[in-house]
Every structure is written in structure tokens, then in C-alpha cells.
């Protein structure tokens, strides 16, 4: 074996998109720490600032740079690592490593690929090679064909039966794939699959709809020791992407014969591939025989391995990293038991249920059906000693409108709609199953319709049976105990029994029915374990004696969803570290298995639990030795999830650290907030709250259009819209608002102008403002979807001073202790407050990385009572850093058919990337590179602009022309360009009624980018919708805001190719420039 690596490059997975989420921050962070334990220096690169792995204390050298071969080459030249670990950053890192090897860069600079060899990666990823390998070792493979054209797909279809599954090669989350039931569908899906595959290759195979889907997580070391960490059974049968399936671990319906048969196969495969590290093997198992097929292997850590790690306590990424640098399994300590090694297989004594979290609450027009293309943004996991309890906990953890299984879709009054939702997998199917059972459908019929194993149907049936008992019988002590053991919440029991849930709680306390906490110890209690990782259950014995000494509970942010992403996990982890550093025990509660926060190493104690008031309350009471008034809780870092607990917890007497519930309420209550701002003399856009349609129309005409409308009871911009006319206002209110709920509708004057965002820390007496960020898009685009620039590059110093002054005033007057985020708009040289959030915002990690300030630590210490001064910080604006950092939003639109791409006040992005450099243009260009929006000079671009944007766009268009771009434009825009003496090729907007139409130039690959700003007319919105969808599905940049477009073109003009690549702190350490 060659010499051991001393400097290792670890590649992260970049921005969060559907199919690639926080699990790779967890994996990468664990890997860097594992390598550090081995005395190896790590160099980490990731373009995603909202990651713990890019904190400067995780790796030895940190680069926040775009993940492109060019950047990687420059990092390698500068750092000269001798090893590269490519298997911990998802498909992104794996593809990049393969590319670097192909380009000869690794060889030229003497960088070895560590762990799994390149040949194994290629053999596992390339469908044909993988198929040949399986045939060689006698493992069954599904009839299939590798195709490069529609004709080849048709030829294969002639030899077998429909339906067929199309899986494009080398894509994440199965992008572009699907199930073809008809020849027409086969043509269509093959076309999109080939387009999505970077090597224009797809696999077409026999469909195994209805077979069980089983996964094994396997690890192998360099001397051929191999183990399985666990297996998992998808409740949804074959046909639903495993990332979109409800999953249970370990398998529930497999006998030992079946379990061992597949386990043996998985070990055979990992050995045949020669993987050194972790991999995941997916199987289809016939529910009526021992027949099985190998579906897929991921030769790297994955979302499934993160889930398996959290489900078992076995740290797969850590072990994989150690194997990559030459350790054998039996040489790696089991950090859970501290007595045994990594060479064993976890024994579970509980049941784990994972449910994906889908974004359909945000994307109401999206196609909710589930297939081979993953659509979930995140997931929740729950642990308990029975399936029913784990399932019900997981449902509560989802934090959707359906708080429990009692929810029913109103459309299910129609039995046909209900049966449809039982048959066709969607995010609602679990509830459809329960509803059918509630209406008396026999188990066998539901099992047949859904193809879900009858075991799971009966388990849900037992929950429904218990619902019946709770609704019809007197709730005696024994029934209450049984219901709690099955995972019923107090709310659920109360709703069924027709009593107040607080009454149920009091009853429980009187009877001493409270949860006990049991340990996740990898060994089913066979050995004494040291891990501080617990879950609740209603059982006899408790194992989690309350922690002694000072302690505080950090509430995590739950599943990753649009509007509440990995940023809040970053904040929660930082808070736990800050508590530890301040000498207080940190206790973490969270329900998301993908994250760093639920790594049991992150806090002194981890409770893997739902984040509802009952679950959190029970933990606080448990840690308080039966009292709720002693253990303080931190709610500022867990996004809206945690903030929503402020009211319920405060009312029960729980001490909330930092800003009080009154402060939170003041910021959220429209009327109080308006009065507050008036009192302290800070302007806000004129607005009002209305409760009727007439009131809305009146108010709008009084305020003057355009106006911003939104319901008051949701945050994060849901159902918010900019409205330009009375006609559209009436239409919007009719479609999006239900006045009968009694919740008012908020109507504000929409002030067009520069939007500015500030995060600040207040200790009660002074306010520290780490930085002022300017948005590229003017107000009206949700701040989470805007490009943000630090420091503001187009702000007058007088504006900055005023913003600092307002921020300080607001924070102090509001009584903020800890963090506050404020958004402003500068309209006609006046500054107005748009929104105040007394909690950590999604820009905190970005701002921390840009300024180097440990914002969360400072805020946590402030909450613990340490003043800013005593921490060594002066109030006011933190000195401007000699750099420019740009935060770019990243979208997953290609995966969500039917979703409007156009940006507005509703947030749509799933992640973010950061570009940082010494000047604006290269920083912005890198942000574009990192977010996949970069277009090269001399490309062809389709432009279709709203009338109001046309005048502003002329300089941008002339830059495009001068750079050598071919401009294609729709009628009106083309006319305007021509009138201004520039060359343009006209394409027609009228799709299918003229050639070429605007869809043709996109789908045929004529243009490499689209700039389309939608106008107000609804017809135009529809045309635009089609071309925007076409662009994202084709995988080319699609820009929908004129502000973004102008900035993009400016960046193309100024900086293509000329940007710096250096470690993050180096940007800050330049000689300071004046403000």
C-alpha cells in the first residue's frame, strides 16, 4: 500500500437542491473531524456558506468557491494535497472528482483518489458496466437496455412489455427520468432523460411496480472486511423514488431468510466493486417469492447513509473517511459504546420511520404525484418502540397543516378521489390510506390498490381502531396508557374524545403517564454505552437522568423545506457549541436525520424528537426533574418552527432565553407593530389590514397600486403577491384567500426600490450590526430568492448610517436580546422598514462567513447575559471587510413539474451559493458559477421582456451584442432591439403557430440562456410560463428579474475567467480599505 495521505482535499456538495441536502454537510463535517483525529490536514471546498463544514474550525483550510474543474485545479495547485476524498459530497463531488481525473489534473499534481477507486465509481455509476459486473457475479439484473436515442428506446420496448422505467445516467435525484406506460410517454421521457444526462445516456428497463423496495447500507475496508450497517424497507413499493418513499428501519416484513439473502448479495456486490468506504445497494424484492433484482448502487455516502447513521448510531461518514486513509474496520473505535470497534453490525431495539417533506404547500400548482424523480426537499425521522408510535411521531414532525393522521382532504368526500389518492403515490397517500380505513375499506382491498404490504396497512388500521375507541369509549386510565404507547398526542386524544388537550395532559401527570427516554446505543443494550442520544417512548424504565449543572435546550428547525433550510441547522449547531464554550450543557432537540445538529457529537445531549409543543414540553419537564420553570430554552435559531413554540412554552412557564415572547409578538402582530414603529419614529410603507373583499378593494385604491397583499397568519412569504390592478386583486383574493377564517389580509403599498437587509445582535443595551446587505433585485422578490451583496455596493454612506441608526433603535426599543433581522426598502431616497424578525435569519451563516464574526456565538452569549462589551465588541456597524460577497439563490425547479419559475414575493429557492472576491464583478460571477446561472460570452440568448422593463434593458442588450452574443427575442422585444439598431433574430411567442417559436429555440438547444421578465397580462404569464419551464427542464439558466439580468450581463462583461481562488479568511486579511 502506498504512503499514507497527509493533506487531503474534501469536496462538499454545493448548494442545497432537491436530491442533495444537508446530509452532505453532516457527512463532510464528520469526515473532516475524523481525518483530523488521524493527524491529517484537511482542505475543504464548498460553495454553500450555510454549512458547518465551511466553518473555519472544521477543516484546516476552507475554500468557499464554486465547484468547477477550473476552481478545483487552482485549489489543488495552491494547496498541493496528496489525497482527494470524493465520496462524501454527494453526486456533485463524485462527478467533479471523475472529471478531474479525466482531465489528468489529479495525475499531474500527484493527487491520489482516496477510498473507493475510480474504477469502482465508474463501474457502479455506468449502467452497462454495472450490469456486466452483476451478471459476472451471478446477481440478478432487470431486463434493460442502455439507450442514447429515442430509436434505441423504441427498439428495446419492442422486445419487452410496458411499463418501462427510464433512468438517465449521472444525475441526482433521478432528474429527467420517469415511468412510461405508453409508446408516446416513452418517447417523451426518453428525450428529457437524455437531455438531463451529462453523457446523454439513459437506462430503459422493465418496471417492477408493486415489488418491495429494500435498501442495505454496506461498508468495506481495504482488507476486504465488510459489514452491513442496517437495512431499510420502503413502505411505498417500487416505482417511487427512495427519497420520496416513507421508509422504515429495519425491514418489517422480511423473514431471516430474505433478510440474509439480500444482505449476502449486498456484501458480494461491495466486494466485487472493490469499494473502500460506504455504499448503498437498492433491491426490488418480489412479495410472492425469493426473486429479487439489484436496482442500484451508490458508491458513496448518501441520503440513505445519513438516515442509516441516525437510525442506528453508526457514524458511516466517519468510518468511511477513516477507511479512505487506510484504517481497517477493527482499528476504528465505536464512539457510541467506547468498548467495541466499527467492525460489527448495529442491533436495533426500536423502530425508525422516515417521512419525506415535500414542497407542495408552497407549490400548489405542482404535480404532487410521486415517481422516479425525487420531489422532497427534506425529511423527518422518528424513533420509538413500536411502528405505530414511530409513524405518528414522524407525522407530527413534518410540521404540515395535517398535524396528525386525523387530517382528511376535503375532496375525499368523493370516494373516487379517495381511491385515486390510495392508488397513486403522492404526499397525501398516507392520509388517504387512513381515511379509507376509517371509512371501513377492508385491508386487503387497500393493499391491492396501493401495492403497499398488508402489514403496514394493518398497522395504520390499528391506529384507526384506536381512534374509534378514543372517540367512543370513556377514556379510562388503561385506554389512555395504551393510546400514548401507540403514539397518540394529547391533541389527538383530546380532539377524538372532545376534551381539551391540556386536560389530557393534566390527567397524564396525575397518573404519572409521562414518556421515558431510551438510548440509541447500536447494540440493543448488550453493552453499556456512552452515547448521549435519546428518544422518547411510553415504557417502564428511563435511561436519561437529567443532566447535572447549568444547561439550556436548543430547538432545531425540523425538516428542510422551502423557506427553512440548512441555515437554521447551522445556527442551531453553532448555538450548541457556544453553550458548551460558555460552560453550559447544550441539549439539542430536532427531528431531521440529515443534519449536523442531530449528530450525537454536536451537543452534550441529543433528543431525537418532534418539535411540537408536547414533545418539547415533555423533554423540558424531564430535564427539569418534573418542573417546567428551570431549564431555559433557546428558540431564536430554529427558524419559524422554534418561534412557533414561544407562545405555548411561555404560557406553561418555560423560561425562554433572549427576546421575550412579547417581543416576538410585537414584531408579528400587525397593529402592535405599526403603532410601535410610529412611536419610535421609523417609517414603514403605508398599509392596512382588511377582512372583506370590499375592504380590500377600498384600501387598495386608497393606497394606490401596486400593492403587496398577503394573509396575516403565514410567514415566509406564502401566498404573498404584488398586485398591479383591482381586477387582479379580486382574482387573487378569490383564489388564494378564505375570508371565512377571520384572519385579516394585509395590504401594503408596494414601494419599488433597493432592498436592504440587516442582521443585528442586541444585548439589551447595545446593538452590534455585523453587516448591511443589499439585494440585487428590487423589493417584491422574496429576500430568500434575491441575490444579496455584502457590503452594499450601491448604498450611500448616509443611507448606511440611517439604516444602522434605525436598526439600533428598533432592536433596543423592541427589547431584542440576541438576534434580529430587519429588511428595508429605499424608495425615493427614503428608508422604510419592511419586516422585522426577532430571530436568526437565513442570511446569518452567509454574513458570518463574509465578515468572520461568530454571530451565533455572540448572540448566544448575549442571551446568557454577557454584554457585547464584555465579549469585546463595540456597538454599531462592524468594520466593512475588504471584500465583496454575493449570495445567490439556487432553485430545484427542474424537478418540480408544473411549478412557475418566475420569482415573486413567495420564496421558491431551495438553497444558496456564495461568491466571494475582492471586487463585486468577480464575486458575482462566482456566485453565478456556483448557482448554475453563469452564461458565457458569445452564447445565444433568448430575451422576452415585459414592456415596463424594456427601456431599462437597452444598455444590457447592447453589452450582450458587443460581447458577441446572438440575441433571439420575441416580437415586441425584437422590435425594440431592432429599433435601437442592434442585430436580433425574431422568434414568435405564438407557440406552434410560426417557426421558429420560442419553445423551439430552447428545446432544440439553439439558445444557452433565457431572460424572460413576465408582464402583468395573464396571457403573457401563461406563454412565459411555458418558456420558463422549458428552460429549467432543458437545464439552461433562466432569469426572470430585470435586475438579476442586468447584474448577470454586467458580471459577464467585466470578469469572465478573472476571479480569485483563495482560502476564505484570506479575503478578509487584505489591507483594510476605508468605508
Amino acid at each position: 500500500m502506498s504512503a499514507r495521505a497527509k493533506r487531503v482535499l474534501v469536496i462538499g456538495s454545493g448548494p442545497i437542491v432537491i436530491g442533495q441536502a444537508a446530509e452532505f454537510d453532516y457527512a463532510g463535517t464528520q469526515a473532516c473531524r475524523a481525518l483530523r483525529e488521524e493527524g491529517i490536514e484537511t482542505i475543504l471546498i464548498n460553495s454553500n456558506p450555510a454549512t458547518i463544514m465551511t466553518d473555519e474550525d472544521v477543516a484546516d483550510v476552507v475554500y468557499v468557491e464554486p465547484l468547477t474543474p477550473d476552481v478545483l485545479r487552482r485549489v489543488i495547485m495552491r494547496e498541493r494535497p496528496d489525497g482527494l476524498l470524493p465520496t462524501l459530497g454527494g453526486q456533485t463531488a463524485l462527478n467533479l472528482a471523475v472529471r478531474l481525473a479525466e482531465l489528468g489534473i489529479l495525475e499531474r499534481y500527484g493527487v491520489r483518489l482516496l477510498g473507493t477507486p475510480l474504477s469502482a465509481i465508474q463501474q457502479a455509476e455506468d449502467r452497462q458496466l454495472f450490469k456486466e459486473l452483476l451478471q459476472e457475479i451471478g446477481e440478478p439484473v432487470i431486463e434493460s437496455a442502455i439507450v442514447h436515442s429515442i430509436a434505441e428506446a423504441r427498439a428495446f420496448a419492442a422486445t419487452t412489455a410496458l411499463p418501462l422505467i427510464v433512468r438517465p445516467a449521472y444525475t441526482l435525484g433521478g432528474t429527467g427520468g420517469g415511468i412510461a406506460r405508453t409508446p408516446e410517454e416513452l418517447d417523451e421521457i426518453t428525450a428529457s432523460g437524455l437531455a438531463a444526462s451529462p453523457i446523454h445516456q439513459a437506462l430503459v428497463e422493465r418496471s417492477l411496480l408493486g415489488w418491495k423496495e429494500i435498501e442495505y447500507e454496506v461498508i468495506r475496508d481495504g482488507v476486504d472486511n465488510a459489514i452491513t450497517v442496517c437495512n431499510m424497507e420502503n413502505i411505498d413499493p417500487m416505482g417511487v423514488h427512495t427519497g420520496d418513499s416513507i421508509v422504515v428501519a429495519p425491514s418489517q416484513t422480511l423473514s431471516d431468510r430474505e433478510y440474509q439473502m439480500l444482505r449476502t448479495s449486498a456484501l458480494k456486490i461491495i466486494r466485487a466493486l472493490g469499494i473502500e468506504g460506504g455504499c448503498n445497494v437498492q433491491y426490488a424484492l418480489d412479495p410472492h417469492s425469493f426473486s429479487y433484482f439489484v436496482i442500484e448502487v451508490n458508491p458513496r455516502v448518501s441520503r440513505s447513509s445519513a438516515l442509516a447513521s441516525k437510525a442506528t448510531g453508526y457514524p458511516i461518514a466517519r468510518v468511511a473517511a477513516k477507511i479512505a486513509v487506510g484504517k481497517r474496520l477493527d482499528q476504528i473505535r465505536n464512539t457510541v459504546t467506547e468498548q467495541t470497534t466499527a467492525a460489527f453490525e448495529p442491533a436495533l431495539d426500536y423502530c425508525v420511520v422516515k417521512i419525506p417533506r415535500w414542497p407542495f404547500d408552497k407549490f400548489r400548482r405542482a404535480d404532487r404525484s410521486l415517481g422516479t424523480q425525487m420531489k422532497a426537499t427534506g425529511e423527518v425521522m422518528a424513533i420509538d418502540r413500536s411502528f405505530s408510535a414511530a409513524l405518528q411521531k414522524a407525522v407530527r414532525s413534518l410540521e404540515t397543516d395535517a398535524h396528525d393522521l386525523l387530517w382528511e382532504d376535503p375532496v375525499w368526500v368523493d370516494p373516487e378521489r379517495l381511491e385515486h389518492d390510495v392508488r397513486v403515490a403522492s404526499d397525501l397517500r398516507l392520509w388517504a390510506l387512513a381515511t379509507s380505513l376509517r371509512r371501513g375499506a377492508p385491508d386487503a382491498e387497500i393493499a391491492r390498490q396501493s401495492n403497499i404490504d398488508p402489514w403496514f396497512i394493518r398497522e395504520i388500521g390499528r391506529i384507526v381502531d384506536m381512534e374509534r375507541r378514543l372517540a367512543s369509549e370513556p377514556i379510562d386510565d388503561s385506554l389512555l396508557w395504551q393510546a400514548k404507547r401507540m403514539g397518540f398526542s394529547d391533541d389527538q386524544i383530546g380532539a377524538l374524545a372532545g376534551v381539551d388537550s391540556a386536560g389530557i395532559r393534566e390527567r397524564r401527570y396525575a397518573l404519572d403517564i409521562t414518556p421515558v427516554y431510551k438510548m440509541v446505543d447500536t447494540c440493543a443494550a448488550e453493552f453499556e454505552a456512552a452515547t448521549p442520544y435519546y428518544y422518547s417512548t411510553y415504557d417502564e424504565e428511563d435511561e436519561a437522568a437529567p443532566l447535572e449543572g447549568g444547561k439550556a435546550v436548543v430547538i432545531g428547525s425540523g425538516p428542510i423545506r422551502i423557506g427553512q433550510g440548512i441555515e437554521f441547522d447551522y445556527c442551531s449547531v453553532q448555538a450548541a457549541h457556544a453553550l458548551d464554550a460558555a460552560g453550559s450543557h447544550s441539549i439539542m432537540i430536532n427531528s431531521n436525520p440529515e443534519t449536523v445538529s442531530t449528530d450525537f457529537d454536536t451537543s452534550d445531549r441529543l433528543y431525537f424528537e418532534s418539535l411540537d409543543a408536547e414533545s418539547v414540553g415533555e423533554i423540558l419537564r424531564h430535564e427539569g426533574g418534573g418542573c417546567l420553570h428551570t431549564v431555559p430554552v433557546i428558540l431564536q435559531f430554529g427558524g419559524q418552527t422554534a418561534i412557533n413554540l414561544a407562545g405555548p412554552l411561555t404560557s406553561r412557564g418555560v423560561p425562554v432565553m433572549g427576546s421575550s415572547v412579547d417581543t416576538i409578538d410585537l414584531a408579528e402582530d400587525r397593529e402592535r407593530f405599526e403603532a410601535f414603529l410610529t412611536r419610535i419614529g421609523v417609517p414603514q410603507p403605508p398599509g392596512t389590514a382588511v377582512t372583506t373583499l370590499e375592504g380590500a378593494l377600498d384600501a387598495a385604491s386608497r393606497l394606490g397600486y401596486p400593492i403587496l397583499v398577503r394573509p396575516s397568519y403565514v410567514l415566509g412569504g406564502r401566498a404573498m403577491e404584488v398586485v398591479h390592478s383591482a381586477e387582479y386583486l379580486a382574482q387573487y383574493l378569490a383564489s388564494s384567500v378564505d375570508f371565512r377564517t377571520g384572519h385579516p389580509i394585509l395590504i401594503d403599498r408596494y414601494l419599488e426600490g433597493k432592498e436592504v437587509e440587516v442582521d443585528a445582535i442586541c444585548d439589551g443595551e447595545q446593538v452590534l450590526i455585523p453587516g448591511v446587505m443589499e439585494h440585487i433585485e428590487r423589493a417584491g422578490v422574496h429576500s430568500g430568492d434575491s441575490f444579496a451583496v455584502y457590503p452594499g455596493v450601491n448604498l450611500y454612506s448616509s443611507e448606511v448610517e440611517r439604516i444602522v441608526e434605525y436598526t439600533t433603535r428598533i432592536a433596543l426599543e423592541l427589547g431584542v436580546i440576541g438576534l434580529v433581522n430587519i429588511q428595508y426598502v429605499i424608495h425615493s431616497a427614503r428608508i422604510y422598514v419592511l419586516e422585522v424578525n426577532p430571530r436568526a435569519s437565513r442570511t446569518v451563516p452567509f454574513l458570518s462567513k463574509a465578515t468572520g464574526l461568530p454571530i451565533i456565538e455572540i448572540a448566544t452569549r448575549a442571551m446568557l447575559g454577557e454584554s457585547l462589551r464584555s465579549q469585546g465588541y463595540e456597538p454599531g456597524l462592524w468594520p466593512r471587510q475588504p471584500l465583496v460577497a454575493v449570495k445567490a439563490p439556487v432553485f430545484s425547479m427542474a424537478k418540480l413539474r408544473g411549478v412557475e419559475v418566475n420569482l415573486g414575493p413567495e420564496m421558491k429557492s431551495t438553497g444558496e451559493a456564495m461568491g466571494i472576491d475582492n471586487e463585486f464583478a468577480p464575486a458575482f460571477y462566482k456566485a453565478l458559477l456556483a448557482s448554475g446561472l453563469a452564461m458565457s460570452a458569445r452564447s445565444s440568448i433568448l430575451v422576452s421582456l415585459a414592456d415596463r422593463d424594456k427601456p431599462e434593458s437597452l444598455p444590457m442588450l447592447s453589452h450582450l451584442v458587443r460581447m458577441g452574443c446572438d440575441v433571439y427575442a420575441t416580437e415586441g422585444t425584437a422590435q425594440m432591439i431592432q429599433d435601437n439598431g442592434m442585430p436580433v433574430q425574431m422568434v414568435t411567442k405564438r407557440i406552434g403557430r410560426g417557426s421558429p417559436d420560442m419553445l423551439d429555440v430552447i428545446l432544440n438547444g439553439v439558445v444557452q440562456g433565457v431572460i424572460n421578465t413576465p408582464g402583468p397580462a395573464s396571457k403573457e404569464v401563461l406563454d412565459g410560463f411555458q418558456i420558463r419551464r422549458a428552460a429549467v427542464e432543458k437545464g439552461i439558466p433562466c432569469i426572470t428579474s430585470i435586475d438579476t439580468a442586468m447584474a448577470v450581463v454586467e458580471a459577464m462583461r467585466l470578469s469572465t475567467g478573472a476571479y480569485s481562488v483563495q482560502p476564505l479568511p484570506s479575503y478578509r486579511n487584505r489591507v483594510s480599505v476605508g468605508y
Partner: protein, 375 residues
């Protein structure tokens, strides 16, 4: 009685009582209370003769999910004295399932209890050791103190020669292969026999107390002593047979109890483990190759490492990575070796079937040498 308590109970010798509800047979049973961490294979556990006389606590909490099928029986009947589970499933789902676990146990008159905090029970045994106990399908109207008294003196498999209970009475032959293996049945599982016949052996299963000369008269190519229950020192005649065997020069392979008997036969000692090794995830290091194997285990006794005679050619070939205990013995010249774990799995991993290959390779080589010499 509290609203939490079911009618049924497990009463341990140290007085601790775990409550639950009954399934399986409605009766009391005595035995040694042990736990196994295997997550699948409750039927194989029930029918493994090595569990003879034990009340088995399944640490995996969902038991009965895939029902029971005669195909998975590992011997002619279930041998456990009782079963303790957290959640028993009465609605099994699997294409091979013919009945529920409860029906199966009831038919064989074996009591079982569910709803127990099995993790608490496991931790109790882990800390205090496997102990005698009573499982009662109903304690309604009965004095717990009387039952505690009974638990203290409950019958345990270490009290008698339980091998005699489980061994066949008559010889039986399986397989058509040309290699002839005599298998001394101390409580063999079907998959041990199947693992040999699949590899080209014909297996003559003989009762545990078959004397060596009778075995030699069958003219075997090799002899295997099977796993089995209880204290190896109680195995009586089987030990004498193994002693004679070692001296005979016949290839010998000892599995589990067969391994412990080999240890005793060569002059090593055996002792009782605190709570045994029972599960499907036990890592074993092969000291010759440095490789680690995940094994199925089910034993309460061990060969003491420091008692293995030195200087006579014996080595400890395998050790447990969990506690360093002896997992295999081997002689450097004689074709004699043994493993403490269960290479046949059932339940448990199939990774170790290669040791059957090794055994039969030895037999094949000697056979061809003999035949070569004969020509």
C-alpha cells in the same frame, strides 16, 4: 394492580418482575432468562435446540411480523421455555407465512409474554447476568412473593444434561455426496446439515452418546460435533467421544458446543459467561488472516483462553472482538478445529459458511490422498 400491568409476568430469581400480556400457551414455565439481539429469525431462535430450557427475551421489539412457516424450523420442535417480546404482531404478512407465532407457540405449549419493557429487562440481565426465572401467562390472584420464591429455584438448563433432551435417538442419513460426515447431534440445526449436504457430503446424524468405536465403524471421512444447549461439562458421553476422536487422527470440526467439548477434551476449561453471546452481529477476528467476520452466536459458556494447553500444537485461532473471548481452536498438525460461533446462521449472517468449505476441503484432500495411496 396498576392500569399499566397486564395479567402476565416474568419473575426473575432476584425478585424483579416484568409485567405484560400473554400470548402463546396459557401456562407457567421455568427456565434461564437470556436475551438475543438478532433482529430477524424468531422462529429459528425458537427451534434452535441450543435455546433448550431458556426463556428468551427478543431485544428487537416487533416480533411475529412475518408469521411462521415449517420451512424455517431448525429442528423438530421449538425448544425455548418461553419468549418475551415488546410488541407481538398478530397480523403477519409474508408469502410463506402459514400461521401466527402465537398459534405456533400455543400449539407447542410454550408461553410467551408481550408488552414488556424488554430493553429494561435486557439491561438488567446485562448488569446482573443471565438468571433463573418463571414466565407466567397469568398472575391474577397469585402472590408475587410465592412466584419470586419459585423463580429462585426455577429449573435451568445448566442443572442437567439437556443435550440428552434434544439429541436424536436414532441415526439418520441426509445427502448423497461422496464425502461421508458423521455428525454428533448435541442439538443440531437443520442448516448445519444442509450446509454440508449442499457441499457434496452425505451426513449421518448420530445420537450425542454414540461411542467413538461405533462412529469409527461408519468409516467417516470426518466428524462434526454440533452446537447444543447447556453446560458442556454436563454433556457426558459426548465429551468422551470427542476425547477419543482427537486421539484418532480423524478430521474433526466442532461447532459451538462441539467447540467447547473440543476445549474440554484437550484439557482446557470452560466457564459461564455473564450473559452469554446471543445475536447475529458478533465480530470475530481470524488471527491468522487478520480478517473480521460478522457471526451468529448463541452460547452461554466459553473456553477459557488461558487454559488452552500450550506446547501441544493448539492455538486460539479466532477471538471475539467484543470481549476477547475464544471463538475458535485449531491444531497446527492435526486436522482438528472448531468455532464457537454458528457458521450456519439461521438466524444470522451467511458470511461464515466458508468454514464448511474448509472442513470439506480437508476431507476431500485426505480422501484423494488415501485413494491415491491405495492405487
Amino acid at each position: 394492580m396498576s392500569f399499566r400491568d397486564g395479567d402476565a409476568a416474568v419473575i426473575l430469581a432476584d425478585g424483579r418482575v416484568f409485567r405484560g400480556t400473554s400470548f402463546g400457551a396459557m401456562r407457567d414455565a421455568e427456565g434461564e432468562v437470556v436475551f438475543t439481539t438478532t433482529m430477524t429469525g424468531y422462529q429459528e431462535v425458537a427451534t434452535d435446540p441450543s435455546f433448550r430450557g431458556q426463556i428468551v427475551c427478543m431485544t428487537y421489539p416487533l416480533i411475529g411480523n412475518y408469521g411462521v412457516t415449517p420451512m424455517d424450523d431448525q429442528s423438530r420442535r421449538p425448544w425455548i421455555s418461553g419468549m418475551i417480546v415488546r410488541n407481538y404482531c398478530e397480523w403477519p404478512s409474508n408469502w410463506r407465512s402459514e400461521r401466527t407465532l402465537g398459534q405456533y407457540l400455543a400449539e407447542h405449549d410454550i408461553p410467551a409474554i408481550q408488552g414488556v419493557d424488554t430493553r429494561a429487562l435486557t439491561r438488567h440481565i446485562r448488569n446482573l447476568g443471565a438468571m433463573r426465572g418463571v414466565i407466567c401467562a397469568s398472575v391474577a390472584g397469585r402472590a408475587l412473593d410465592t412466584l419470586r420464591q419459585r423463580a429462585r429455584t426455577a429449573w435451568s438448563p445448566s442443572d442437567s444434561n439437556v443435550v440428552a433432551d434434544v439429541s436424536v435417538v436414532e441415526e439418520r442419513v441426509s445427502g448423497q455426496g461422496d464425502l461421508r460426515v458423521v455428525l454428533i447431534d448435541c442439538g443440531v440445526k437443520e442448516n448445519v446439515i444442509a450446509s454440508l449436504t449442499r457441499r457434496g457430503a452425505s451426513v449421518t446424524v448420530v445420537p450425542f452418546d454414540t461411542p467413538f468405536d461405533e462412529i469409527a465403524a461408519l468409516n467417516p471421512d470426518g466428524v462434526l460435533t454440533s452446537p447444543g444447549p447447556g453446560d458442556p461439562e454436563n454433556a457426558g458421553a459426548a465429551l468422551d467421544t470427542v476425547r477419543d476422536m482427537v486421539d484418532s487422527g480423524l478430521p474433526y470440526f466442532g461447532v459451538c458446543l462441539g467447540h467447547q467439548l473440543l476445549g474440554l477434551a484437550i484439557g482446557a476449561h470452560t466457564s459461564k459467561l455473564k450473559f452469554g453471546h446471543r445475536g447475529g452481529n458478533h465480530p470475530v477476528l481470524d488471527r491468522a488472516t487478520g480478517r473480521v467476520y460478522i457471526t451468529a452466536q448463541n452460547h452461554g459458556y466459553q473456553v477459557d483462553a488461558d487454559s488452552v494447553p500450550t506446547g501441544l500444537g493448539w492455538t486460539v485461532s479466532h477471538v471475539s472482538l467484543n470481549d476477547g473471548s475464544v471463538e475458535g481452536l485449531r491444531h497446527d498438525r492435526l486436522p482438528v478445529f472448531s468455532v464457537q460461533y454458528h457458521p450456519e446462521g439461521s438466524p444470522g449472517p451467511m458470511d461464515n459458511e466458508y468454514v464448511f468449505d474448509e472442513f470439506l476441503r480437508v476431507l476431500r484432500r485426505r480422501k484423494s490422498e488415501r485413494e491415491g495411496a491405495a492405487i
